[in-house]
Amino acid sequence: MTENIEMRKKICLLGDPAVGKSSLIRKFVYNQFSEVYVSTIGTEVTKKDVMIDFHDSSQEPKKYDITLAIWDIIGQKEYRSLISRFYKNANGALVVCDISRDETFQNIREWISSLFGAIGKVPVIFVGNKFDLIDKNTFNSDDLIDISCRYGAPWITTSAKDGENVEIAFAKLAELMVRDTLHFERMTSLIDVLDAMIVDFCEVNGGLEIGMPLFKEEFTKIPGASLKEPKREIVKQLIQSLIKITRDNKGRMIADFQNSRFNNWLEKVN
């Protein structure tokens, strides 16, 4: 018999005030629900284990025992630098809106770009909460589908009140994080590192459209730089110039997060 693989993952719940972040956590962790709204001050961390069976095409199915540290973050998005700090080392997020209030859906884009802008791309699920409050017959999922296409992340509707899909949302995120971890564990070449670096750099600096020209400019400045056969020395040099741009655009803290990610990846491969 094979043993379960244990992992610890930090996840954040993001979204406007009163969309039900704390309620989702309470339902998931304690199976409780209360109608009384208490706004989260600062942040609260709760823990819960989830077990998932995971297999991808190249492997035998394996059992994972994942300890989730669930960070419930203040919904007032004006507390930007506080929020960026909470994101540090997060492995994934549920981005939550209240499906009965359209403005909370509109703000989802801001939340996801604040997350990716701080720590690069991590697995995310879009959650339309309070599904119990709306008429299911007239519910239109087009907007959720659209944003899920745009960010390549799944969406789900939940109700923290009656518990619908709550476990599934957390379990699905856990599965995406396992997939993500395996991807990084399997980094074997400098191309893999460069690939991840470019996407990370672009996400932090506003998406591929904005980030790619910035990357291109730095890359072509380095003599002998090649995408086909990247050399270690050149990747090191590139890290320094990319981090400098991130520092100018996003500040020292976010640049430091990025620097440590890049160097972790580079250490993995020889």
Binding site: R150, G152, D192, I198, V199, M212, L227, K228
Partner: protein
């Protein structure tokens, strides 16, 4: 007076390195062809407007294509996956003078659909001008494209042949797709 509605959609050009993706875009958007081959670094975006009549609703549809040119190096998986996100159509390109680029069309299509689900695609076999070096033709392209119920075109970024048609056909399919999902 007929109404005009404007929509903006992202499309991607995919295919092996040096099949001519960048040249096709240049020829289509700017009408220039450059014989020199420069690897596309990462992604590059250009735009082009197309207008279609929508007789059913008595209006015109002005479609702005945001054309994403993605590097052909397959090893950069994350970049590709990220660039595919939000695409509503694709042109998948191979090179008539290199048979292995034909065989890779399916792999490109699969990697795209993994991210975008089924979206309209058009297959393009480029470099039709290099007559003496051509290794395959219509029947091989038909085999690939019919598996996806999609059209194909033989093009030349040098002479410009069929490029307009390929983009226009993709635009048509996208609008059809959009109108049917509206209803």
């Amino acid at each position: 007076m007929t109404d005009r509605i404007q929509i903006k959609r992202k499309i991607v050009l995919l295919g092996d390195p040096a099949v001519g993706k960048t040249s096709l875009i240049k020829k289509y958007v700017l009408d220039v062809f450059n014989d020199q081959y420069l690897t596309t670094l990462g992604t590059k975006i250009t735009s082009k407007k197309l207008t279609f009549p929508d007789q059913q609703n008595d209006r015109e549809i002005e479609l702005t294509l945001m054309i994403w040119d993605i590097m052909g190096q397959k090893e950069y998986k994350l970049i590709h996956e990220t660039a595919y996100q939000g695409s509503k159509g694709a042109i998948i390109v191979c090179d008539l003078t290199r048979k292995e680029t034909l065989h890779n069309l399916t792999a490109w299509t699969t990697s795209l659909f993994n991210i975008t689900q089924n979206i309209p695609v058009v297959f393009v076999a480029n470099k039709n001008d290099l007559a003496e070096r051509i290794q395959f033709g219509d029947s091989e392209m038909l085999d690939v494209s019919s598996a996806y119920h999609s059209p194909f075109f033989l093009t030349s970024a040098k002479t410009g042949i069929n490029i307009e048609y390929a983009f226009k056909e993709l635009g048509k399919l996208m609008i059809k797709n959009q109108l049917s999902s509206d209803n």
